[in-house]
């Protein structure tokens, strides 16, 4: 947890973490083709910035919840890599015992309380987690991550309202990648609709910026977490970002034409890793050796995780019966 002004160390930490996550996600994408990770998978490549920026302001006893696209959040918050990979392989040792797959991750040991697959589903649940923090007079806060698409679900507004009424220590963390599956914003949200204005209209402090911009993402995350921690009131963050691969699955689907080349090129030229490198360089540190180091360490981590995952036993259906009731 960091509440002081952003330092070069923060930049390096940010950089290391996004490189690690991208390396992991790329490894998953490559190995997905072997058809052994048999579950729908929504990769975070391109969108690592927001997840890392916010998580750097959190400690293990702060809570986070997320959605179908949660790998980056899980990892940034400190989730166990081997257990995540084992979950993709449908093993008993997976972080959800093989029951949930990529869309249902959890690691309570680091405060990652759960990600679920129904759009908007965890938003009000996070309000309950935040209310528990309020009731128990905890100093911790809760962050719920979701896409701009989830703001179209009514439960988003309902939760803004209750968070405001009850002064919950809750951050609504919106990653706006402009798409819901293949659908652009136009048929979904009026150009005169503004997510931060909606939250402000509920009496909630709201911040907006570019999630691929390291300074902006870190500054906003710091401002928001500081505010929520101190004021014990909710806050909404909207960070723009972009996903590089298809909505679901390991491939690039730029050829099917739902996004313009211009748009894709713009965002790739504004890649969070490239941006972070530049920022670090401007501070006088060469990022390349750090990048290489992280990549190598992560590859080792990945190999271990995949090895352990593939060695682990499968759950039996008899075991899943016992998960129906506690």
């Amino acid at each position: 947890m960091k509440q002081e002004p952003i330092t070069i160390e923060d930049f390096k930490e940010f950089f290391s973490k996004i490189v690690r996550i991208r390396t992991i996600e790329q490894a998953i994408a490559e190995r997905y083709h072997a058809q052994e990770m048999k579950c729908p998978m929504h990769l975070s490549i391109g969108q690592e910035g927001p997840a890392v920026a916010i998580s750097m302001q959190l400690n293990a006893s702060d809570k986070m919840l997320s959605t179908h696209r949660s790998h980056a959040h899980y990892l940034a918050k400190g989730g166990n890599l081997t257990m995540m990979i084992s979950e993709f392989f449908g093993r008993e040792t997976g972080c959800s015992g093989g029951m949930g797959g990529s869309m249902h991750l959890i690691d309570k040991s680091c405060g990652f309380e759960g990600a679920t697959a129904i759009v908007g589903n965890t938003i009000p649940i996070a309000a309950g987690v935040a209310l528990s923090q309020k009731l128990s007079k905890s100093k911790n806060i809760t962050v719920v991550c979701f896409g701009e698409g989830a703001t179209e679900e009514g439960v988003f507004s309902e939760t803004l309202n209750i968070a405001s009424v009850k002064n919950l220590p809750l951050i609504f963390f919106v990653e706006n990648n402009s798409y819901s599956v293949y659908s652009p914003l136009a048929p979904r949200q009026s150009i005169n609709r503004h997510i931060t204005k909606i939250s402000e209209a509920h009496g909630i402090k709201s911040l907006k910026g570019n999630g691929n911009n390291i300074e902006e993402a870190l500054a906003i995350s710091l401002e928001a977490t500081t505010y929520v921690r101190e004021k014990r009131k909710p806050c909404l963050i909207e960070l723009e970002t972009y996903r590089y691969l298809e909505h679901c699955g390991p491939n690039n689907d730029d050829h099917i034409g739902y996004r313009t080349k211009k748009e894709i090129d713009f965002w790739k030229s504004y890649d969070v890793i490239a941006n972070a490198k530049k920022a670090i360089k401007e501070l006088g540190v060469s990022p390349d050796s750090l990048e290489k180091l992280i990549q190598e360490n992560t590859k080792e981590e990945i190999d271990n995780a995949f090895r352990e995952a593939t060695l682990a036993p499968f759950p039996k259906i008899e075991r899943s019966i016992s998960y129906e009731y506690a």
Binding site: M99, P124, G128, A326
Partner: protein, 365 residues
């Protein structure tokens, strides 16, 4: 804002204020919250002057507005919030004045609460009670009277509990709150006036059971729940006078009824009737019959039958309502036909019970 003062809280503690089923629910709330500081109680109207037909009276005064509170009209978010509390060490109880309103929160109930423990591999249970009241009569009409207990019972991961008698109401509510799973706790509004004096309140709730046998008999087995059990109980009493033995099993745990007791009873009586205040189609009585068949096929003297509500909504008009809902008399007549006998002067015998069961809810609420 609360109509009760500290004095009546004291009266509640001493059973002095407990006169009926509704008070029993209030007592169960009270005791659960007293003995377990993690229990929370909220819902639309929870702290208003009427306190959900009195069932939450005095709670805010006693336990404060952090544990007992009113909410916005946002059923889906409130259910999600309850789940979030439940996975964070609390035991929330969310109340809906009408079951119908819970339909706005089905995503949270079915996709989240019911599956959380399962989909995260048994790591985190969801000790949550969603209390729903079925309002029927006085023109509640198509959208304020739905009895969807059989519908909720179809969902894996939910427990559905529907008490019949006041003391069971108290005990089952306590057990539901203590249970580590999401429990849909359904009260039929007509039961709220059944009398009870609060005797038998306990410090520690027992584990949720499956069913109670409420009468013995060797001619026919009835499996029922909630107000259906009350009527069946009346029917059993009346038919004693005709030397007909009706064994009534109150299967209050709708997804987890005690099939062994039921099967044993059917082995003895050879006849099965299910009585159930939900639409008949795919009702819980239907499931009971299907489960009994492979176990007792050879024992059955006649085909099992069902009494339930018609398979269409209820119209508001009183003239519709009076034919829509069945009562003790319909159970007696069904048994008459199943046993192929006649009960002379049964209408006279019924009068006493009829009037009691006619003491229904008269509006406007």
């Amino acid at each position: 804002m609360n109509m009760l003062n500290k004095n009546s809280v004291k009266e509640l503690k001493q059973n002095k204020r407990i006169n009926n089923f509704a008070d029993g629910i209030a007592a169960a709330f009270f005791d659960s919250m007293r003995y377990d500081p993690t229990v929370l109680a909220f819902g639309l109207g929870a702290t208003d002057p009427k306190n959900i037909f009195g069932t939450m009276a005095g709670l805010e005064d006693e336990f404060g507005n952090e544990r007992v509170f009113d909410t916005p009209i946002s059923e889906n978010a409130m259910t999600g919030m309850a789940i979030g509390l439940a996975i964070s060490g609390y035991k929330p109880v969310l109340t809906h004045q009408r079951l119908d309103f819970s339909l706005l929160s089905i995503d949270q109930i079915v996709n989240a609460a019911a599956k959380w423990y399962f989909m995260f591999g048994g790591q985190q249970s969801v000790p949550l009670v969603i209390r729903m009241i079925i309002g029927q009569g006085w023109g509640q009409g198509p959208t304020h009277s739905q009895a969807l207990q059989s519908w909720f019972a179809q969902i894996p991961g939910l427990k559905v509990i529907m008490p019949a008698f006041p003391k069971d109401g108290y005990n089952l509510f306590r057990s539901s709150i203590a249970d580590p799973n999401p429990v849909i706790f359904i009260e039929h509004r007509w039961l709220h006036q059944m009398s009870w004096n609060g005797e038998g309140r306990v410090v520690s709730p027992t584990q949720l059971g499956k069913s109670n046998q409420i009468s013995t008999g060797s001619d026919i087995t009835i499996v029922s729940n909630s107000i259906g059990s009350v009527y069946s109980h009346h029917a059993a009493n009346i038919l004693k006078k005709y030397n007909v033995g009706v064994e009534v099993i109150d299967a209050f745990n709708l997804r987890d009824f005690d099939i062994n007791s039921i099967s044993k009873s059917v082995a003895k009586t050879g006849r099965l009737l299910t009585v159930d205040f939900s639409h008949q189609f795919c009702s819980i009585g239907t499931e009971i019959i299907a489960q009994v068949l492979p176990l007792n096929f050879a024992d059955l003297k006649i085909a099992p039958e069902r009494i339930a509500l018609p398979n269409f909504p209820v119209g508001t008009s009183f003239n519709i309502e009076k034919d829509f809902y069945f009562s003790t008399i319909d159970i007696c007549k069904k048994i008459e036909s199943m046993l192929n006998v006649t009960f002379p002067n049964i209408d006279d015998e019924l009068k006493e019970y009829q009037s009691s069961s006619k003491k229904r809810f008269d509006g406007p609420f």
